[in-house]
């Protein structure tokens, strides 16, 4: 099989994921795009491993590790997103702008138009 097929496919998938990371508003969709990028890399690894006929199969082993780490990443990432959502009432990436220039470090609920139903522990406490 021509090596260019999996390589080009991996490159295109990676760029699709890149677009998703940069363009999506919802943090969970951003995480999905990150998964796409990781998979593109994995595809590359496997293709080159097969091409090289590596005796220790470093590419495949690394792919397995990547998959495991991606699983851990998605777990942690989702936990963070959930926490942000609980604190801010939103998981939209472009509304989390506490580091904008010229703004005092505001109370955490300030940066997001709070939904009335959103629980806010620190306010409640």
């Amino acid at each position: 099989m021509h090596l260019a097929y999996p390589a080009v496919l991996a490159a295109l998938l990676f760029c699709t994921g890149l677009y998703g990371v940069l363009a999506r508003r919802n943090a969970i969709l951003v995480l999905m795009s990150v998964e796409l990028m990781l998979n593109a890399v994995n595809l590359n690894l496997v293709a080159f491993d097969v091409w090289l006929r590596d005796t220790v199969h470093a590419g495949q082993a690394l792919t397995l590790f990547t998959i495991a780490i991606a699983a851990a990443e998605i777990g942690i990432g989702l936990a963070i997103v959930l926490m942000v959502y609980r604190n801010r009432g939103t998981s939209d990436v472009d509304r989390l702008r506490d580091t904008v220039e010229g703004r005092e470090p505001a109370p955490t609920s300030d940066s997001a138009p709070a939904e009335p139903t959103a629980p806010r522990p620190e306010v409640a406490a």
Partner: protein
């Protein structure tokens, strides 16, 4: 101890006293007075010892080189000849007198510690100048004296007059010091050394390439320091300082430093006839002009200041005719009686509560209130007027004799034109000197009007010093005999012709002034005291205002002021000078000339610089600040807080870099 060790100790002791006084002035006020008087006294005693052991013999010349200084070496050198040791004695004695006097005079002054330390420092610097055998070391002392003078003139810095006077003294003397410095360098380059002995050797061997230029450059510095025309204007204004300072610095010692300097380097000046003629013209103009100006002054200290200028003119005149012995003789005797005059004037001001002569002329019995000051002042004024047998007569005669010898062609170095100039101006000035001395005496002690205020007895520290200084004022003329052995060996005793000429002029001056005073007093008596003319009232008020403006010490004297009684004042000077009086009182408007020539252009230039700084330079500065601010504002806009835009920029950059790398690799591979 060897003479050299003693001589080294002489300047060091007052210096140590000054340092200790500055350090302990605040913490241990009890030590201030001993620290001021004792080192100076010890220095005076040591100076006398040095003088005795040197004894007018061969000059002692020792030097040590601290470190190599390149092509022209600078040594720590002592050069002790008769001039140096005797001047040191004068400086030491007068400084001691002034320190003792100051303990009483500035008793209640809160800044006495720093004042005493500065006077000690000044004494040390002057002794350094006197003893130094190296021109660079001499220059150090010279400049320290200048800065001490600046501080001491501005002692009463609360008053505008003292502040501006100190600035003026500093700037005018610096105006002379800059050419002086250049002259020193030129001299050292020509002679190959800063050592006085080597320079004199080079001059004797005819080794100077530009004697006239060097002499004229040095003359500028001397004119500044010794208050000679046209740089004399700072000295009358410097009277804003405390009276003892005027006695020490602006009468006896510092202003004599210029004369002393020329005396030391006289061969350099006699190498150039043009310089001698310039010196003679300078001396003549200074003498006559200052005599006229002194006749018109109302402030007693300004009279004495102009008198100092005139007497220094005598000294430079003697130097112009190439006789440094005569100049030096006059320096010593003048130092004694002028210090006495100033210290006495301090007592008078203390007693009368004013500086103004016209105010004193309206007081009765001032002489009886302060008999010590009266008698010593009388002695000193007689010495100033050169009435035999007082000290001033002999020293002035020495100058006139030297001028006469030069005029008749007996001098080997001086041109006869300079001799005639100095002789004529000297005789004329003798008349003027006698006239203003008489005027001063009459107006200060023969006043009529309200009784002088009684402030009790003057302290012993003040009157005792007066009597101490009165001794040389009377008897220093006897030194005319032995003195030549210490100096060059020129005869210093008077000759009949000049004695008759000089004394005749002085007697004429005294008599004329007395007669005019009598007439003026009679006319003043005709006007009823209760109904003074409007003009006289205005004039008296003017005089009072003037005296208040010129005499900051009036505020400092703690006694209550006597009310100025309106009325005409018999002033012989007015009658003597006639239409010249107005101009003489203003110092012949030299200050106005300076204002037009220097002050206004400098102010205009300063205004230009101000404008350039404000409008041009600051624009650049503002631009330098504004451009980063603008850039910063632009960059701030990029800080949106949106993580995605940051990430986009990051990736865009990475892509650009990757493409650039790929393109470059392709291009390189293709080539």
């Amino acid at each position: 101890m060897t003479t050299t060790t003693l001589a080294v100790l002489v300047p060091l002791l007052p210096f140590a006293g000054a340092v200790a006084g500055l350090l302990l002035g605040r913490t241990a006020p009890g030590f201030v007075r001993p620290l001021a008087v004792l080192p100076t006294l010890a220095a005076a005693v040591l100076a006398v010892l040095v003088a005795v052991s040197q004894g007018g013999g061969r000059p002692i010349d020792v030097a040590t080189e601290l470190t190599p200084t390149g092509s022209v070496p600078i040594d720590l050198a002592l050069y002790l000849d008769g001039f140096a040791v005797l001047t040191a004695v004068l400086v030491g004695v007068v400084a001691t007198c002034v320190q003792v006097y100051s303990t009483a005079y500035l008793r209640e002054d809160p800044r006495y510690p720093s004042y005493a330390a500065l006077v000690s420092l000044f004494t040390s610097a002057m002794l350094l100048v006197v003893y130094s055998g190296d021109l660079m070391v001499l220059l150090v002392g010279w400049e320290i004296m200048g800065i001490c003078s600046y501080f001491l003139v501005g002692h009463y810095w609360e008053t505008e007059a003292a502040r501006s006077a100190s600035l003026k003294a500093f700037l005018v003397t610096k105006l002379g010091d800059v050419p002086f410095l250049i002259g020193l360098f030129a001299l050292a380059v020509d002679a190959g050394s800063f050592r006085i002995t080597k320079i004199l050797g080079a001059v004797a061997a005819g080794g100077l390439d530009h004697p006239t230029l060097i002499a004229l450059l040095l003359l500028a510095g001397v004119a500044g320091k010794s208050a000679q025309f046209p740089l004399h204007t700072w000295l009358p204004d410097a009277m804003a300082g405390p009276t003892p300072v005027s006695a020490l610095i602006h009468a006896a010692t510092m202003v004599a430093a210029g004369v002393y300097f020329i005396a030391r380097l006289l061969p350099v000046f006699t190498a150039s006839r043009a310089a001698l003629v310039v010196l003679a013209v300078m001396a003549a103009v200074t003498m006559v002009g200052s005599g006229l100006a002194a006749l018109a002054q109302d402030d007693i200290k300004r009279v004495l200041a102009y008198s100092t200028v005139g007497q220094l003119g005598y000294m430079t005149g003697a130097l112009a005719v190439g006789d440094r012995g005569a100049a030096f003789f006059h320096l010593l005797s003048h130092g004694a009686f002028k210090a006495l005059l100033f210290l006495g004037a301090g007592v008078i001001i203390h007693a009368a509560g004013t500086n103004s002569l016209s105010a004193m002329a309206r007081m009765d019995g001032l002489a009886k209130r302060i008999p010590d000051a009266f008698w010593t002042m009388t002695i000193a004024l007689l010495a100033l007027a050169a009435i035999p047998p007082f000290a001033g007569f002999f020293s002035k005669e020495a100058v006139l004799v030297a001028a006469e010898q030069a005029a008749t062609g007996h001098s080997d170095s001086a041109p006869s034109a300079a001799g005639w100039l100095v002789l004529v101006a000297g005789v004329l000035t003798a008349l003027l000197t006698a006239a203003y001395a008489t005027r001063l005496w009459l107006m200060a002690f023969r006043g009529r009007g309200a009784a002088a205020p009684d402030h009790g007895k003057e302290p012993l520290a003040m009157t005792g010093v007066l009597w101490l200084l009165a001794v040389p004022s009377i008897g220093f003329g006897l030194a005319a005999g032995p003195l030549p052995d210490w100096l060059d060996g020129h005869e210093l005793s008077p000759t009949v012709a000049t004695a008759v000429l000089g004394t005749g002029a002085a007697v004429i001056g005294v008599a004329l002034t007395y007669a005019l005073w009598q007439r003026a007093a009679a006319r003043a008596a005709r006007v009823p005291a209760g109904l003074p003319t409007a003009a006289a009232t205005a004039e008296a008020e003017h005089a009072a205002v003037e005296s208040a403006a010129q005499a900051p010490e009036v505020d400092e004297v703690t006694h209550d002021h006597p009310a100025v009684v309106a009325g005409a004042v018999p002033d012989p000077g007015k009658a003597l000078l006639g239409p010249l009086y107005r101009h003489a009182a203003a110092g012949f408007h030299l200050d106005a000339v300076y204002a037009a020539l220097f002050v206004r252009p400098v102010r205009a230039a300063a205004g230009l610089v101000h404008f350039l700084d404000r409008e041009v330079v600051e624009t650049y500065v503002r631009g330098a600040g504004g451009a980063p601010r603008l850039l910063g504002a632009l960059v701030r806009r990029a800080q949106t807080g949106n993580v995605q835009s940051y990430l986009s920029t990051l990736f865009a950059g990475a892509v650009v870099l990757a493409i650039a790398t790929a393109v470059l690799a392709n291009v390189n591979a293709g080539s």
